[in-house]
């Protein structure tokens, strides 16, 4: 069923009795051309682009819980393409362009809202670094504006500009950045893929791989064996666990990241604002809640909940930057398990096992990448060649030394 103003109106007249489920609940078939493990944003986007762009429709997405129950449904929904390194920026700009056309493309309201992303700087050195980053963004076809303190004050008068320790010296503004509705992104891709013939199989956990002579021929699941021409793993925080089933150790650690939402307030935060002196970022949802977060907890974790020291740290940073939020009450907080890679950048690649492909290492920035990650993974699965914007995301780059380390922090996942 095509969604439109007319379909809304017509259903309204009929008392909303005729809506169909947005995707089917199929039984798994015995064999597919491609199986995607993981029904998060990335897995569903890969299935969507496989079926819509690359014409491969005999595809299953296998999800252990319900789709979007992982990080896709837990993140703070910021989208942006403000990276520095040549291995990253063209990829994230492809993602930004896909976000801009996404809702028309998959006929679903993903509430993509380009309300701007502002990264604040607090020292002259930091401003120089932002000027450099802004130039790198412009060269990759993205947009960037370097704001002086007056420009920032016009946009966000509520910040603590004259803080004695960390005064605000300006900011790097990406006007096309913003937020999108995370659940709707999952549902939109699921519906689009399903309508092109993709089977979305929920409550089905992949427990291992079918290997024949060193070639991956399918997956073992809690609902039986399913064979496949190719298997693509896209399980974010569970990457280590799932790939261990193929005897693989990864350049990835799993860490927990927390997020917070306040009670609903009148509109006060215009876009996304990030602190340059501590790890803190904030935006306001359409319902009015202040959505904010900061650092990962910093130790290996598969528990989808964090500890109190980081709560304190995030709230302190928030108070230092936006003192007025001290008046708001916290409504909810939660955690998700991040696939932190050794250089802070992702992996979209074949693996040493024929027939097995891997997508992961998204750290805490994979939501913005959802469209391009799905697109590039689909490209790789369909053609066996990396997409031109994702050629740097090799699995063996840690062996060859071609790492993509935006922060220059080295092989220390809790510092990325």
């Amino acid at each position: 069923m095509h969604y439109s103003a007319w379909s809304l109106f017509w259903q309204g007249l009929k008392g909303n009795t005729d809506w169909k489920p947005a995707w089917r609940e199929p039984q798994p078939k015995g064999r597919y051309d491609v199986i995607i493990v993981g029904g998060g944003g990335h897995g569903l986007a890969a299935a969507y682009y496989l079926s819509s762009v690359y014409g491969i429709t005999n595809v299953a997405v296998i999800e252990k819980g319900w789709i979007g129950s992982g990080n896709a449904g837990r993140n703070t929904t910021i989208i942006r393409s403000n990276y520095l390194l040549p291995g990253n920026e063209p990829f994230y700009e492809l993602s930004m362009k896909l976000w801009e056309g996404l809702e028309q493309d998959f006929n679903f309201n993903a509430m993509v809202s380009q309300r701007g992303v502002l990264n604040l700087c607090h020292t002259d050195g930091q401003r120089d670094a932002y000027a450099r980053r802004g130039n790198a963004m412009l060269m990759a076809g993205a947009d960037a504006v370097l704001l002086d303190p007056v420009g920032v004050r016009r946009m966000c008068p509520f910040l603590d500009f004259d803080n004695a320790r960390f005064p605000i010296k300006g900011g790097l503004w990406q006007k096309r950045g913003g937020t999108a509705r995370h659940d709707a992104v999952v549902w939109g891709y699921a519906r689009g893929a399903d309508s092109r013939g993709v089977d979305i199989i929920q409550n089905c956990e992949v427990t291992g791989f079918v290997m024949e002579n060193g070639v991956c021929k399918g997956v073992e699941t809690s609902r039986g064996t399913i064979m496949a021409g190719k298997v693509g793993v896209s399980v974010a925080g569970s990457s280590g666990r799932v790939m261990a089933g193929a005897g693989m150790r990864l350049p990835i650690e799993s860490h927990v990241l927390q997020a917070f939402v306040s009670e609903g307030l009148k509109p006060i935060i215009p876009g996304v604002v990030t602190y340059g002196a501590g790890h803190f970022y904030i935006s306001q949802s359409d319902k009015g809640g202040l959505v904010f977060g900061g650092d990962i907890d910093g130790y290996n974790s598969y528990a989808q909940r964090g500890n109190l020291p980081v709560v304190e740290d995030v709230c302190e940073s928030g108070m230092a930057l936006v003192p007025m939020i001290g008046r708001a009450r916290l409504l909810r907080m939660w955690g998700g398990v991040m696939d932190m890679s050794m250089d802070g950048s992702p992996i979209i690649d074949k693996t040493p096992v024929d027939g097995l492909y891997f997508n992961g290492g998204w750290c805490y920035g994979g939501f913005k990448a959802t469209p391009a990650s799905g697109y590039c993974f689909a490209h790789l699965l369909a053609t066996d060649v990396p997409h031109p914007t994702a050629t740097a995301y090799r699995l063996d780059r840690f062996r060859t030394g071609a790492v993509i380390d935006e922060k220059g922090a080295g092989a220390q996942p809790n510092l990325h």
Binding site: E253, M342, Q412
Partner: protein
């Protein structure tokens, strides 16, 4: 989380910084034939288990000792805390 320091007793995890998998104690031999491969594995590749994990914590805001903490990554429960130096010495003598 509370880390039960073998010398100082129960301490708040906030006093520590986290380094990573305790295998980082076993620095490979830089003169080995396959040193490049060994260091690639040492530096970049991890078991990353869901469950029991032996890991290095540094008591930065305390006695500055390195500890090997055995912790469950699914529940955050800590089952064992050792002084890293003891672990390293035991391993060397065991060899």
């Amino acid at each position: 989380m509370i880390i039960n320091h073998p010398l100082l007793g129960p301490r708040d995890a906030q006093e520590f910084t986290y380094f990573g998998d305790a295998s980082l104690i076993n620095r490979p031999d830089w003169q080995a034939e396959d040193a490049a491969e060994l260091f690639y594995e040492y530096l970049h590749v991890r078991d990353n288990p869901a469950g029991e994990h032996r890991e290095l914590w540094y008591h930065e805001h305390g006695d500055r000792s390195w500890l090997v903490v055995t912790r469950n990554t699914l529940t955050h429960e800590i089952s064992k805390v050792e002084i890293a130096r003891d672990v390293a010495l035991t391993r060397r003598h065991g060899q």
